[in-house]
């Protein structure tokens, strides 16, 4: 019988893979023949930090709001009251079929104007949540529908009310099923927030680009940018894997 590799083998393999990637990156950068100018960045470090923090705030707020929007849209789509169902379907299909860039421009300059929404930060969070909510709605719908009909029948049989069935049978299972695509969508959200720079929200990417404008140190500005985003996305991925493992069971 084949022996499964031990921890030391895993560690060695991981670090050698990492080293290979590092070597490759080093070689490609080296070929640029460009002098590095990290010193130029130093006076601007507050901009990086402020931008990172704002991206963190925007992403977190949008995470929560889009969760609510997505859940509402997914439930609306299951209603027997047809106008609500169609409203939800239109929202989901239109938003999922339009590039975020276009959505930002239309929602900010046209819709936002109509409602007199001045605060860019609030507008940014609303737009990003609106966008992400449509994707979450489909993820939730798949999760909900993944709970077998027979379980619903079983739940009715023991006397649970429709609300109780959602609360005790459907949601717990749907959420656990949804965890992997949910985490994926959240990571996308964090990265997509960079697009809000086009309406001059002073988030991480815009700040790094500004520093680049002032110092002409493009790579030196963008490498911390990549690292900063990883700092935000890796915890989400890691946490979702932890939760997946915790909730794993055969259905």
């Amino acid at each position: 019988m084949k022996k499964t590799p031990g921890t030391s083998v895993h560690l060695a393999s991981f670090f050698s893979a990492l080293a290979a990637v590092g070597l490759f990156l080093f070689w490609t950068f080296h070929r640029l023949h460009q002098p590095w100018n990290w010193a130029a960045l130093f006076p601007y470090w507050p901009k990086f930090v402020q931008g990172w923090l704002l991206t963190l705030v925007i992403s977190s707020a949008s995470l929560l709001l889009s969760f609510v929007m997505g859940l509402m849209a997914a439930l609306a789509r299951r209603q027997s009251f047809l106008p609500l169902r169609y409203l939800s379907m239109i929202y989901i299909e239109v938003v999922r079929g339009t590039p975020l860039l276009v959505l930002i421009l239309i929602l900010f300059y046209v819709v936002g104007n109509a409602f007199g929404l001045e605060n860019r930060l609030v507008a940014g969070v609303l737009i990003l949540s609106f966008f992400s909510g449509a994707y979450l709605a489909e993820i939730f719908r798949a999760g909900i529908e993944g709970v077998g009909e027979s379980q619903i029948e079983s739940a009715r049989a023991i006397g649970l009310s429709p609300l109780q069935i959602y609360q005790h049978v459907i949601f717990p299972q749907a959420l656990r099923q949804s965890l992997p695509p949910l985490a994926g969508q959240w990571v996308s959200l964090i990265k997509d927030s960079s697009l809000l720079s086009i309406i001059s929200i002073s988030e991480f990417t815009l700040n790094a680009q500004e520093v680049n404008s002032f110092t002409y140190s493009t790579l030196e500005s963008y490498l911390p940018l990549a690292a900063g985003y990883l700092l935000l996305t890796l915890p989400v991925t890691w946490w979702s894997r932890v939760l997946e493992k915790k909730f794993r069971y055969e259905t």
């Binding site: 640029l32 460009q34 300059y109 104007n113 001045e118 720079s197 086009i198 309406i199 001059s200 002073s202 815009l206 680009q209 500004e210 680049n212 404008s213 002032f214 110092t215 002409y216 493009t218």
Partner: protein
């Protein structure tokens, strides 16, 4: 990034001269109805190519990506109405200036502001285009107003017409053009906030610099700039004369 090859009769073995510019800045850098690069800077580049006996290839690159492109040798020259600033001179080298212009203000029609100092107050929003001298000026000198950094000229103008910004700080040429296009909703104060000179961008210690400066001097002597001004900037010339503002070139 799209490139067009403009071969000369004498190309042969000499390498192509790659010139970078952002083709969204009429009448200096733009595209014609056929989608080909056109404008003052394009003709200047072609004239330079003839002088150097090299074929010219125009590359369309976003303004704040021009210097990195030059540094990484994707292009050989920048001819994109770029101002020679001390900050930029750290990264790259510049030829002798070929045009004098100034930063000025594009305002909403109802605005009564006459100078940028009036607008440097808390609650005021000044739009600038990322990476331009307007951006650098705003960051350096506007301490009270909020600076809105946008990556497209069109977005900045939209912000002013929609009342989301109180002014757009940009160069005289564009401000004038936008004002002309929408006189009902916009207003321009053309007196320069800061004068600046445009020059051709080169890599540091590039031997090409001598030849480029030689070309510029010759081109001016032969009335080349005069001709370009007549061809592309007639209306601006006259309007500026009317307002008593010194005109470029």
């Amino acid at each position: 990034m799209f490139c067009l090859l403009l071969p000369l009769s004498l190309s042969g073995q000499t390498p192509v001269l790659k010139v970078g510019m952002e083709l969204s800045y009429p009448p200096f850098e733009m595209t014609n109805e056929r989608g080909e690069p056109a404008g003052v800077s394009v003709e200047l580049a072609q004239a330079l190519g003839r002088h150097l006996h090299r074929a010219v290839e125009i590359q369309n690159i976003a303004f704040d990506g021009l210097i990195p492109a030059l540094q990484t040798r994707k292009i050989d020259l920048i001819i994109s109405s770029m101002t020679a600033t001390p900050e930029r001179s750290v990264a790259i080298d510049f030829s002798e200036p070929y045009l004098k212009t100034g930063l000025c203000l594009l305002l909403p029609h109802e605005s009564t502001a006459q100078s940028v100092a009036e607008l440097d107050r808390a609650g005021k929003r000044i739009a600038v285009k990322k990476g331009t001298t307007g951006h650098l000026f705003a960051v350096k000198h506007l301490t009270h107003a909020q600076v809105l950094v946008l990556d497209r000229e069109s977005a900045a103008v939209l912000e002013v017409t929609e009342g989301k910004a109180d002014a757009f700080l940009y160069d005289q040429m564009s401000v004038f053009q936008h004002w002309q296009k929408d006189r009902a909703r916009l207003k321009a104060v053309l007196t320069p906030v800061q004068t600046e000179s445009w020059a051709i961008g080169l890599r540091r210690q590039d031997p090409l610099k001598g030849a480029v400066n030689e070309f510029l001097a010759g081109f001016r002597r032969e009335g080349g700039f005069e001709a370009l001004g007549e061809k592309y900037l007639k209306t601006q010339k006259d309007a500026f004369k009317e307002q008593g503002i010194p005109f470029l070139f």
